[in-house]
């Protein structure tokens, strides 16, 4: 019996000779991640053990991104716990405000996750890195604390579900719409405990940013992970990180490469080459297979209060909104900002609307400034923010009042997700979000361009 890509990567990280769905494994991890919400609990638990060091200083990543730049004193204390811990234990990959970004955009960009890796993160959207052909799963704070100690994690080998997309994407349709379509089809627990493997010609032609957006939302279908077999697009992406001209060269040397290397001018060297490219065997076993015709997928919106409440944007008439958010670990990457800017160029947003654009990392921020995108957003009447998860989880930087509605490129629209329990969030791709800002109501990009 053949193995899926997920099973192969798990097998590579465990001592056992074979893996079967449903079995518990103790796996060695390549990287573990925590943020300003989840890491403080992990650090508290870790410190109770009184150990002198973490399992590997290079394999722990701490990113204060949720309530950072600190929104209040309590959040400042949480962020400080991370900074102090990083200092005390010599954690190499701690990213302070000014160098940080939204973790799931930052880590791939920094070359910290490579194809074939096994990554755990105390954040549910850790599944994002599956886009690189890594097994990447969300875990909790105690798991993270245990990983700090052992570099290991207990996991159940998941069954895999195969999602085959064929046909060419329609205009204004991206990875976000493909995943919303999938979640709309199978429901918010449709892939519970399962690895969601995305494949087919549509995926093979999909950009890395779109792949990251897709895998990011695997969790919204209950998935343990999302994964796409690495290919030429993956290779190009991984290579681009190695290439300083790609624009990611201004982080402090210690976070990427050894100081000596930087001073000698060798920047951005990935940790371990290009990673390892795995793919599923032809006779690998899947618990379910789904086929979707991309030509039939239109720009979509998930209406409150579940990501599975998916409707074509054209079906939503006169949904007036108060706020538009373009950003997050789902759609805060440069190609997302480019699409939004394309729609907003030379236009003004509706006068009663707030538009909040949040590039996911400092690199993306700078690219957006260089390309003139930031200017477009500001001239349109929007704000252009420093990277933060902020409004996505109702943290800060754009909280909704009672009765308000927002269209957002984020990933969750649960009750009160962005603020007051009586507010509502509509999830969509950046093109729809930008068009809606112009119209003042949820709109198809065609209506404004």
């Amino acid at each position: 019996m053949g193995y899926t890509i997920t099973e192969k990567i798990l097998l590579k990280h465990t001592k056992t000779k074979e893996v079967r769905p449903g079995e518990f494994l103790n796996v060695k991890i390549d990287l573990c991640l925590g943020n300003d919400i989840t890491a403080p609990f992990a650090i508290e638990e870790f410190e109770k053990l009184g150990l002198k060091k973490v399992f590997d200083k290079k394999k722990v990543v701490l990113v204060p991104d949720h309530f950072a730049p600190a929104k209040d004193m309590k959040s400042a204390n949480q962020c400080k716990i991370l900074a102090n811990f990083a200092k005390k234990y010599g954690v190499k990959n701690y990213f302070e405000v000014g160098r940080m970004g939204i973790e799931h955009a930052l880590l791939p960009e920094m070359g910290l996750v490579l194809p074939g890796d096994l990554v755990i993160g105390a954040d549910s959207h850790t599944c994002t890195y599956g886009a690189l052909g890594a097994v990447s799963v969300g875990i909790g704070s105690t798991d993270l604390a245990a990983a700090f100690v052992t570099g290991e994690c207990w996991l159940k080998t998941p069954e895999s579900m195969k999602f085959i997309f064929f046909g060419k994407l329609n205009k204004w349709v991206g990875g976000k719409d493909l995943i919303l379509h999938t979640i709309g089809d199978i429901g918010v627990d449709g892939a519970l405990y399962k690895a969601m493997e995305f494949c087919g010609e549509t995926i093979e032609n999909l950009s890395m940013d779109d792949r990251l957006a897709m895998c990011n939302m695997a969790i919204e279908a209950g998935g343990k992970s999302g994964i796409i077999a690495p290919d030429q697009i993956t290779l190009r992406y991984v290579k681009s990180i190695k290439n300083p001209s790609a624009g990611s060269g201004f982080y402090p040397a210690k976070s990427r490469a050894k100081r000596g290397e930087r001073s000698r001018g060798i920047k951005n060297k990935p940790r371990r080459g290009m990673g390892k490219f795995y793919s599923s065997d032809k006779d690998a076993k899947y618990s379910a297979m789904k086929e979707y015709d991309a030509k039939k997928i239109e720009p979509l919106v998930a209406v409150p209060s579940l990501p599975s409440n998916v409707k074509p944007v054209k079906a939503l008439k006169d949904v007036w909104i108060d706020q538009v958010v373009i950003g997050s670990c789902t759609n805060g990457r440069i190609s997302d900002l480019r699409v939004a800017a394309k729609i907003l160029r030379g236009k003004k947003i509706k006068s009663n609307i707030r538009l909040i654009v949040i590039p996911a990392t400092q690199k993306i921020y700078l690219e957006a400034v260089r390309e003139g995108l930031a200017k477009i957003f500001v001239e349109a009447g929007g704000v252009f923010s420093t990277p933060t998860c902020g409004p996505c989880l109702g943290g800060h930087m754009g909280i909704l009042a009672e009765g308000e509605k927002a269209i957002s490129t984020t990933n969750r629209n649960f009750i009160g997700r962005m603020g007051h329990p009586g507010s509502g969030v509509y999830l969509a791709n950046p093109a729809i979000a930008a068009a809606s800002a112009v119209k003042g109501k949820i709109a198809h990009p065609e209506e404004v361009i």
């Binding site: 609990f41 949480q78 954040d123 909790g140 627990d189 649960f414 009750i415 997700r417």
Partner: protein, 163 residues
């Protein structure tokens, strides 16, 4: 150890924002987290809940974020056990890791009504509904998980291992 208490009923897809909204996550103070437990779905939950009480929910309980604050808020509120038709996986493992007993089973999730007095025995694999005089069989934990729960959570389990 059996867990006994009154049932608090919730529906399907209770997410982690329902259990504890993100705006309260800027602290690790357990008592403070518990004060906002289930606030989005039942404002008065924390006033009603008594030590030992049991949460009974539908499918996909705890979906959404990875925040361990969710099972911590539930445990600190006094709830002794959560029964649901199914759990979101990160919530499931977080509960195991912090030693909050959880039971995944459809029958009790459907049969138990609000206010029923319920006794859960995970060791024997049985739930008694003392109000309705019914019993439901439940699956025992897998050995691997039983070890963690018996140790009182993952860190205690780990402590024994590294000693």
């Amino acid at each position: 150890m059996p867990y006994k208490g009154r049932a608090h009923k919730f529906g399907d897809d209770i997410n982690t924002d329902d259990i504890i909204a993100a705006r309260y996550l800027n602290t690790t103070d357990r008592a403070e987290l518990a004060r906002h437990c289930m606030e989005h779905v039942d404002k008065n939950f924390i006033k009603k809940v008594k030590p030992g009480d049991i949460i009974v929910a539908g499918k996909n309980f705890g979906c959404g974020s990875s925040r361990e604050h969710a099972p911590i808020a539930i445990k600190t509120s006094g709830v002794s056990c959560v029964i649901a038709a199914s759990f979101a996986r990160i919530f499931f493992r977080n509960s195991v890791n912090i030693g909050l007993p959880i039971v995944e089973s459809t029958e009790p999730s459907k049969r138990i009504r609000k206010g029923d007095l319920v006794r859960v025995n995970t060791k024997l694999g049985i739930i008694r509904n003392l109000t309705r005089k019914e019993s439901y069989r439940i699956e025992k934990y897998p050995t691997f998980m039983h070890r963690i729960i018996n140790a009182g959570g993952l860190m205690n389990y780990l402590k024994k291992r590294i000693k």
